[in-house]
């Protein structure tokens, strides 16, 4: 019947946003329920990974990009660290080290 109404109104049916809501809720709650029993380790994990990289490569802490995508089946944690090019002069290297 709704196609008939749509025909008369002359517009396409709107996307069903409710199913979107359900899917988003299921994913976010699955993650939050885990977090309830365990402390949130992500900030610490990020800090430690960056610290390990910094031990070997001089990096600018302002140029570290961390992104997280919590999915239903799989989550990805991406840590993007800008590695500086070959040093222009020795002064910079000393400062970084």
């Amino acid at each position: 019947m709704s196609w008939l109404a749509d025909l008369f109104k002359g517009r396409k049916p709107e996307p069903q946003t409710a199913s979107n809501a359900k899917e988003r809720l299921q994913i976010v709650l699955a993650h939050e329920r885990i977090g309830r029993t365990r402390e949130d380790f992500l900030p610490k994990l990020q800090m430690e990974i960056v610290a390990v990289v910094a031990r070997y490569v001089a990096i600018d802490p302002g140029r570290v990009n961390v992104s997280l995508d919590r999915g239903g089946d799989m989550s990805t944690l991406a840590i993007e660290i800008d590695l500086p090019g070959p040093p222009a002069n020795t002064g910079r290297r000393a400062a970084a080290g």
Binding site: Q16, T17, A21, K22, R24, L25, L29
Partner: protein
Amino acid sequence: MAEIIVVTSGKGGVGKTTSSAAIATGLAQRGKRTVVIDFDVGLRNLDLIMGVERRVVFDIVNVISGEARLNQALIKDKRVDTLSILPASQTRDKDALTKEGVGKIIEELSKDHDFIVCDSPAGIEKGALLALYFADQAIVVTNPEVSSVRDSDRILGVLQSKSKRAEDKREPVREHLLVTRYDPVRVEKGEMLKLEDIREILAIPLLGVIPESESVLKASNTGNPVIMDQESAAGQAYKDAVGRFLGEKIEHRFLEPSKKGLFSRLFGGRAA
């Protein structure tokens, strides 16, 4: 011994106070000696919804601090004689509520009541934690909307870890889902979360579904709990919910759009 019920939600504005007033009134109408307590110190509103705002002399904070006796602060409802209201303080800050103070009040009320309904403030701060701390049962009020469902899930976690029953490692607080502001027309259009979706996500027993209804605002305008309006769908849905709470088997209603004739479809007219 009274049964202690918390009406809670995490999120604000979903209908905790409306539901507390309706359910407390409904229990009292069934002859249960009932008291409903406002835990929202600083932002009290239960008095308005119950229509007793002009009769408030003392409040829960006065009782805790020893400035008034409990009997002086309790307001007897004039419509249902087994119902009374304990208002929150409007002027004091939230720190005035203490676990010991609230515990004493609940213990004293337990002696001569069947049900103590605790109307929780929004959030998961002190007032909300104290409202749920002593609970035997929890009514989790949820709107068919993402932020409300998420906050309800969060408050369920709090009930399972921070209530007195959880601390004492007793049988857990019995949880009930009360979905409010449900609009079957929007659900049918796919614009609103379905009841089955909310049930699947929160996975607690369903106490009732209160349809979106103009009568709720009318009821609060006049200070009459909406359950007293048995003409309205919301009032009837609350009455059903109270019956289920008392163990009766009552089928859920108002889940489908009401079947209207062509005339009212064309010329509008909304559910009462």
